[in-house]
Structure formats: structure tokens, C-alpha cells
């Protein structure tokens, strides 16, 4: 059409027929303009339709919650019998502190469901399915979305904000097992039934403070057949604060301090001799934590380095009842422990790491009629452990890890441990905490 008009114009010009040509071309131009206008409208409509067609609401999985599954399996080679595992110098926590079973085994599988409930709340359920076929609620909480001024409230069961490592799910740990300090002071990982209030400050440097109150369902508030205290109100309280920020062109840091206070009642533990002892009194735990992550230009895709450490200090005092002597007396202890670990990704997919653990049992004091000899597990001993690992992550969703450890948790033997492990995640894309 367009060409035809041009030709007409050219011909008209060539033959010098200005009057006739003008009349004719103006007519044609008008038609052309109308056609262009119509075309333009059709293109706009088509574009709009294409945008409509290609945009779908980006909720997580339309209306269903985001579902993800974590699977992991492990081969363990332990030079010492895991059934006789203990950490000398420290009160047993009854948590999952041992190195697991020998040989091939399935690790804990996790099923996670999460979604915004409405404009006010977000809900998360993380169920752990143990290889012994039992199901546990690892986390199950609601969290506010609509509070402003930096406030967030969490309620339900959640990993306590005490320390750094405690809030991280096992599948995201940099080593196969928890630091020794987390094992003796928090029973590996403390998940509390309770409420958490957290506030983030309106400053360019990150600052948060938080408080948790809970039922005290786990060590250090409770352990053993007695379970949590049978009382209204609160059995455990946590306070924490963190500061964090950036340094230079590739370093991010965060450091925090936290406090966990509980008053255990009849918290029982079994001595290797088979006698059950129980403690009633005060337990106060302080934790200092620090984390530093470096990646060139904050781009961790190729290389990155992570340095993480925590220091724990616990004071307990109260009454201890000895199962062996069937007597109750005063007991007090100040114990501490720390670990420092570093993980380095030197090429895409490959990381290596080293961790050093050390605990200091201090010296427990027993007042009459108790006798230190009645509590052999509490005899002064400073456990240590060296761990090295290498892992390979072919994608964001899979990881294979080889780990060696020389574990001196037991005062009389060194446990040489080898773990070969896979950890994979299926389903919704996870997002990991700093």
C-alpha cells in the first residue's frame, strides 16, 4: 500500500501533474493514516494482551505454601563406640549430641511448608522425620508482617535466637555436626515453645535487639523424664542484640551478645554408672558470637570466605541430688567453651573448612553432704576437637561433603571420625540467613 502511494507520487511528480496528484495522494494519505492508526491500535492491544498473558501473580506457588524437602544420607566411620559417647566434665543434655550411628544411615529428613497467611502473618512449619520413623516439629511458628517501625513478633516453636549457629538449620551447617559448645550448652540446638519480639533499628548500621520467653521445654531448662516445669507463666527467657555492617568492598560482619536464663527444676541426668541425678536451681548462659563473610565485590559466586566463632559461658548454682548417695546438697559451676571455624570456597562449587572446638569444664563445687566422687561425669576435663571438611555443591540444591574429625570429648579416648554425607533440597528455593 505504502509502496503504491510512493510510486503514484513519483509518477505524478515526473509527469508534472501537480493538481491531479495532490487530490489523489491526499485521498490516499487519509486512507493510509486511518490504516496506520488502526494498525497502531491493534499492535498496542496485542502488546497489552501479551503482557497480560505473561504476567501471572508471583505468589509462592499460586495459593499453595512453598514446599521444600531436605534429604540427607551419611556414611560414618567412628573409631570409638558411639553408644558410649559422652562429653566429660559437662552435664549430659539428653539432646542429640552423639556422632550418630556407624555405617550407612539416612539422616534426618526435613519437610518445610511456608506461606504468607494473610497480610498480617506468615506461617512456617518444618517437620523433621527421623531415620527411626518418628516425626518431630522442628519449627512451627507464625511471624508478623504488618508491624512497622522494625518490629517483628514470632510465636510458636522456633530455634532460639541465642548465639549464632543455633538458629541455622542443620542442612545449612558448614560441618556435619554441631560445635561441641552448642552440644553441651544448648543440647545441640535449642528450639523453644514461646514468643519472640525483635526490633531492628532505623540506622544504616544494622542493629537489632530481641527478647524471647518460653516454656523451657528443653535443656538447659528441662531434661529427663520430668520434662518442662508444670507451671503457668514463663520458664526460660532470652535476650539478644546484634550489630552488623559492611567493611570495604567485600566484607560483611555481624557480632552479637545473648543471654539465656532458666531455672531448672528436677533436671535429671544419668551418670555413666547408671545412677540418675537431678538439679534444681539457676542456670545462666552468656554467648558472644561473631561472623565475617568476605567475597570479592560481595559476589560470592566464584570465591568467598566465611569466618565464624562463638564463646559460651554458663553459671549454674542450686541443689543437686545424687542418685548414688541419695542425698541433696549445694552445687555450683562456671563452665565455658568456644569454637572458631572458617570455610573457604576457592573455585565455584568447591569449599574447604576447618573448625576448632574447645570446652573448659572449670571446677564444680559441691557442698556437704555431696562428694565430687559421686559425679564422675562432672570431673574436671577440657574436651577439644579438630575438624576438617571439603564439600562439593554442583548446584544450589545439592552438596556432597567429606569430613574428618579428631574428637577428644571423652577424657580417656580419641574418637577418629569420618563422615561422607549428601544433603539435597527439593522444591521451593530456599533463602539462607546471613
Amino acid at each position: 500500500m505504502h509502496r503504491k502511494a510512493t510510486v503514484t507520487l513519483a509518477v505524478a511528480a515526473a509527469f508534472g501533474l501537480p493538481h491531479a496528484a495532490t487530490a489523489q495522494t491526499q485521498d490516499e494519505l487519509r486512507t493510509l493514516r486511518e490504516q496506520v492508526r488502526q494498525l497502531d491500535r491493534r499492535v498496542t492491544d496485542a502488546e497489552q494482551a501479551a503482557i497480560q498473558a505473561s504476567s501471572r501473580p508471583t505468589g509462592e506457588n499460586a495459593m499453595n505454601p512453598a514446599v521444600s524437602v531436605i534429604l540427607n544420607g551419611i556414611y560414618s566411620n567412628l573409631s570409638q563406640d558411639p553408644n558410649a559417647f559422652r562429653i566429660n566434665g559437662f552435664v549430659p543434655t539428653l539432646g542429640e549430641v552423639g556422632p550418630g550411628v556407624r555405617g550407612l544411615s539416612l539422616g534426618e529428613s526435613e519437610l518445610a511448608l511456608a506461606a504468607n497467611i494473610d497480610h498480617n502473618f506468615r506461617g512456617t512449619l518444618i517437620a523433621s522425620i527421623s531415620p527411626e520413623d518418628s516425626i518431630g516439629v522442628e519449627e512451627g511458628y507464625i511471624q508478623t508482617l504488618s508491624l512497622s517501625y522494625g518490629f517483628t513478633v514470632k510465636a510458636g516453636r522456633f530455634f532460639s535466637g541465642v548465639g549464632y549457629q543455633n538458629q541455622i538449620h542443620a542442612h545449612a551447617w558448614d560441618f556435619t555436626d554441631a560445635p561441641l559448645a552448642n552440644k553441651v550448652f544448648l543440647g545441640s540446638q535449642l528450639n523453644e515453645d514461646g514468643i519472640q519480639l525483635k526490633w531492628v533499628a532505623p540506622t544504616d548500621t544494622y542493629f537489632d535487639v530481641g527478647v524471647e520467653v518460653g516454656r523451657g521445654r528443653q535443656f538447659p531448662a528441662a531434661a529427663g523424664p520430668a520434662g518442662p516445669r508444670n507451671k503457668n507463666g514463663v520458664s526460660s527467657g532470652t535476650l539478644f542484640a546484634h550489630v552488623g555492617g559492611d567493611l570495604g568492598t567485600g566484607t560483611a560482619w555481624q557480632t552479637g551478645v545473648s543471654y539465656l536464663g532458666t531455672s531448672p527444676q528436677d533436671r535429671s541426668f544419668e551418670d555413666p554408672a547408671g545412677k540418675t541425678n537431678s538439679f534444681t536451681g539457676q542456670s545462666r548462659l552468656w554467648v558472644l558470637d561473631g561472623i565475617l563473610k568476605w567475597a570479592p565485590n560481595y559476589n560470592p559466586t566464584y570465591t568467598n570466605l566465611k569466618l565464624q566463632g562463638e564463646y559460651f559461658r554458663r553459671k549454674e548454682d542450686g541443689d543437686l541430688t545424687s542418685g548414688a548417695a541419695a542425698q541433696t546438697g549445694g552445687f555450683a559451676s562456671v563452665q565455658s567453651g568456644w569454637y572458631l571455624q572458617s570455610v573457604y570456597q576457592f573455585v565455584p562449587m568447591w569449599r574447604v573448612g576447618y573448625r576448632y572446638d574447645r570446652l573448659n569444664s572449670g571446677t564444680a563445687s559441691f557442698s556437704a553432704p555431696l562428694n565430687a566422687a559421686d559425679f564422675p561425669i562432672l570431673a574436671a576435663y577440657n574436651p577439644t576437637r579438630h575438624t576438617v571438611m571439603a564439600d562439593w555443591s554442583p548446584s544450589e540444591f545439592s552438596r556432597v561433603r567429606l569430613q574428618f574429625a579428631s574428637d577428644k570429648s571423652r577424657s580417656d579416648v580419641t574418637d577418629k571420625q569420618v563422615f561422607l554425607q549428601y544433603i539435597v533440597s527439593l522444591g521451593a528455593h530456599g533463602a539462607h540467613k546471613f
Binding site: S54, Y149, V200, A201, Y206, A252, N297, T301, A431
Partner: protein, 301 residues
Amino acid sequence: MKAILRFLFALSSLVVALPATAALNVFACEPEWTALAQELGGDKVSIYSATTALQDPHRIEARPSLIARIRSADLLICSGSELEIGWIPLLLTQSGNSKIQLGSPGYFEASQHVARLEIPKVIDRALGDMHPGGNPHVHTDPRNIARIAPALMERMSELDPANAESYRSRGRSFLERWQAAIARWEQQATPLKGVPVVVYHKDFSYFINWTGMREVGSLEPKPGIPPTPSHLAELIDQMKRAPAKVIVYSPYSNPQAAEFLSSRANIPAVMVPFTVGGTDKAKDLFGLFDDTIARLLGAVK
């Protein structure tokens, strides 16, 4: 307990008393949206750019400094289409900020305002890191910027009605200059039409679609999976049979694989700015396309 509550209360009253430094606090996920918000907002906005051109926007740590900034944001501008799925959801739940949650006016996903390419027919992780909503790197086609700008302008006006007139007039002026620039770029980019190109990641698809270039391969064997020796060997073979004219990669990706293929197949490898700040000349959105086209023309000449 009482002391803590009193402390928190004191802190929160401090917050209320803090003076607002700018009318609108913007948290931009990627530098292209920082640049666009700057064009529309001028001095009426204060913008925090969460990432730079040297970072892979798929893989960002939810660092404390990002939480601190998102906490006070009035408007969040992201590419969307699951690009930031590994970090933004975490920042949102930690922010304690209701203004920028999903569904609030302060939550703006740029890719929702344009027709997306490469919406997968089959969604399966075996195919790599997929974006079910389509390719999220929409800003590499300037016509998309022209579609997103009016939507963003309206959103800013809605959130900050006092300055609505300023946003709209700045927006109109930007769009006028932008349309003129598009016409100029389309003219300049004519030689790129039909040019076969190897990309690093599928982050350049909209540009390729706009200029009529032809994508014949990618250095990543699958989206999000780093180049492997076997895949590179296949590419070299393929280049022998049907050579591409240029290999492009972005500042955040490792140039090694591109340079390796370049030397083996004797095809120029070009780093394109990809986003604002990716090269010295890509100082703003105009510079981004000026420099991208200039670099590609230089390579395919």
C-alpha cells in the same frame, strides 16, 4: 523484663522522632532500577542500591546492612520474576517493615509490567535454575524501560502524593528523551541484526530480541550452572561448524570461560556493561545502551 520493655519503648519513640531526610526512601534491588528511580525521583527520593554491577543478582547474601536499609524503605523496586528469590524474601521477613511487603503499594516488581520472554513450558530443576515467571532480566531491552517507567512513576506518585507533579513531569521528560534515544539506538544497532552471539548466562535475551541478534549458545551448560570443560568443548566444536560472531559476558561473570572459547574459536569476547555501573561509560541508563551498542559494534565490525 520491665526494664527491657521500657528500653524498647524508649528506642521506638526515638524512631518516631527521627526526621525524614527525603520524601521517599527507595530500596532498589539492582542498579538499573536505582538509575530509573533517580531519573524519575530526582532530589525527591533517597535511593539505596542493594547491589552493584559486579554482583550476580541471583546470588546475594542477605547481609545485615541490607536488612538495615530495607527496614526503613518506603518503596522496594526489584526485577522480580524470581530473580531475587534467594535473598529478598528473607530480607522482607526480617525487615519489620509492612510498607514493602508483597502486595503492598511499596512492593514494585518491574518485570510484571512487560511481556516476559522464555517462560518455560516445562518446569524442572534438572533444566537448571529456572524462572517459572519467565526471564527476569527485562531491563536489557530499552522498550521495556519505557513501559516500566510510567508504572513506576505512578507508583511513586501514589506513595508520595505531595511530589506527584514532580515525578510525573520528570517522568514525561525522561520518556521523551528515552524514546528519542531508542530511535537513535535502533538506527545504530542495525548492523547487529542477525548476528549470531554466544552468551554467558541467559541474561541478555531481551537485548538480543530487541536488536534481532541470534543467540546460538551459552557458556553455562544450564542456567545457573557454571561452565564445564565438556560443555566448552562442545561449544568449540559447534563454533567450528557454525561460528558465532561475538561472545558476550557481564561484569559479574568470570571472563575465563569466555576468553577460553574466544581464543579457541577465534571469536571476539566482549564484556557488556549489563547494567548501570558495569563499565565506566555506563554511568546511567542512556550510557548503558550507548556503551553496550558501541562495544558490540566494535566487535562485529
